[in-house]
């Protein structure tokens, strides 16, 4: 029983990986280190995959990449409307990053989204995206008027949503990844041999992918709501 408790306490604390010995020691936490590793991995994979792009005779890899880009473009076009081109690259990048971040548990790294700071920063970028685009595409006055849009009765709820939406995005992603991690640790402590691999299919892979889809879908739909002009 004490073993399980130490496992849980270790799983929840964020460990310091190393300290940069400058300006009195800046502590670099483990999630930042894993983020850097994942970014390097993504950059290397992207450079390798887009090496010889041919416009007239695409190979298999290029066709697959074009299908994925087309899918994300179609998704943004459907949910955001006229200005989808401004948002599709960011949505695609967040999808790639979150897929790697949630699934890196099977590579042996601890997922960076297990740290509430990482998910909170992702949620804050989503908030800047949604409300920044609301004011950028509708102008200053139109942006403020949009808060009272369907019925002026909803004005306090729309103002509260500025705080509630990032909180919910952050906690959903954090809670799911942390819960999956804790359950996998407990499973590995009890039955270390074959069972964790089978459960890891559900907890690590399926759950991680669903959370990516939900995060990106919600961000896109909120952005579409904020700037849709054709009523």
């Amino acid at each position: 029983m004490g073993n399980i408790q130490t496992t849980m306490t270790e799983g929840l604390a964020t460990k310091i990986a190393f300290t940069i010995p400058v300006l009195g020691g800046i502590k670099v936490s483990e999630s930042v280190l894993v983020n850097l590793i994942l970014s390097a991995l993504i950059i290397v994979l992207v450079l390798l995959a887009t090496r010889n792009l041919k416009p007239d005779k695409p190979g298999r890899l290029q066709s697959m990449l074009e299908a994925m880009v087309g899918f994300i473009n179609g998704f943004c076009k459907e949910n955001i409307g006229r200005h989808w081109r401004h948002f599709a690259p960011w949505i695609g990048t967040i999808t790639i990053y979150l897929t790697f971040a949630n699934l890196c548990g099977i590579l042996g790294l601890t997922p960076p989204t297990k740290d509430v700071s990482i998910t909170a920063s992702l949620a804050i970028t989503s908030v800047f995206l949604i409300y920044g685009s609301q004011f950028r595409f509708l102008g200053a006055k139109g942006g403020f008027k949009r808060f009272a849009e369907p019925i002026p009765l909803l004005l306090p709820i729309n103002l509260m949503e500025i705080g509630i939406r990032p909180l919910s995005l952050c906690m959903r992603l954090f809670g799911n990844v942390l819960g999956a991690f804790i359950i996998m640790e407990l499973l590995k402590a009890v039955v270390p041999v074959i069972v964790p691999a089978a459960f890891s299919l559900y907890f690590d892979i399926f759950d991680g992918l669903i959370q990516v889809i939900v995060f990106v879908f919600l961000t896109t739909v909120f952005t579409g709501e904020a700037i849709n002009e054709e009523e």
């Binding site: 929840l12 906690m171 959903r172 954090f174 809670g175 819960g179 889809i213 939900v214 879908f217 919600l218």
Partner: protein, 71 residues
């Protein structure tokens, strides 16, 4: 010991999520049986709805963790 009770009560939000998702899955199964061509659409809607409903259960879990580990 009150910490343990408080954390246990906080996780009761799982009841709402469990019931809600079960009802939604039942309706989804019914509607797929009624119109099998829309199965893909229905499945996507169901998954997104379940992930959103699950979030409320996760909030309870996060609060229980916060209660246990900060007392």
């Amino acid at each position: 010991m009150t910490v343990a009770f408080a954390a246990a009560i906080a996780v009761f939000t799982g009841i709402g999520a469990g019931l809600g998702i079960s009802f939604a899955t039942g309706k989804a199964a019914e509607s797929i049986a009624r119109q099998p061509e829309a199965a893909n659409n229905i499945r996507n809607t169901l998954l997104i709805g379940c992930a959103l409903a699950e979030a409320t259960a996760i909030y309870g879990f996060v609060i229980a963790l916060a209660i246990i580990f900060t007392k």
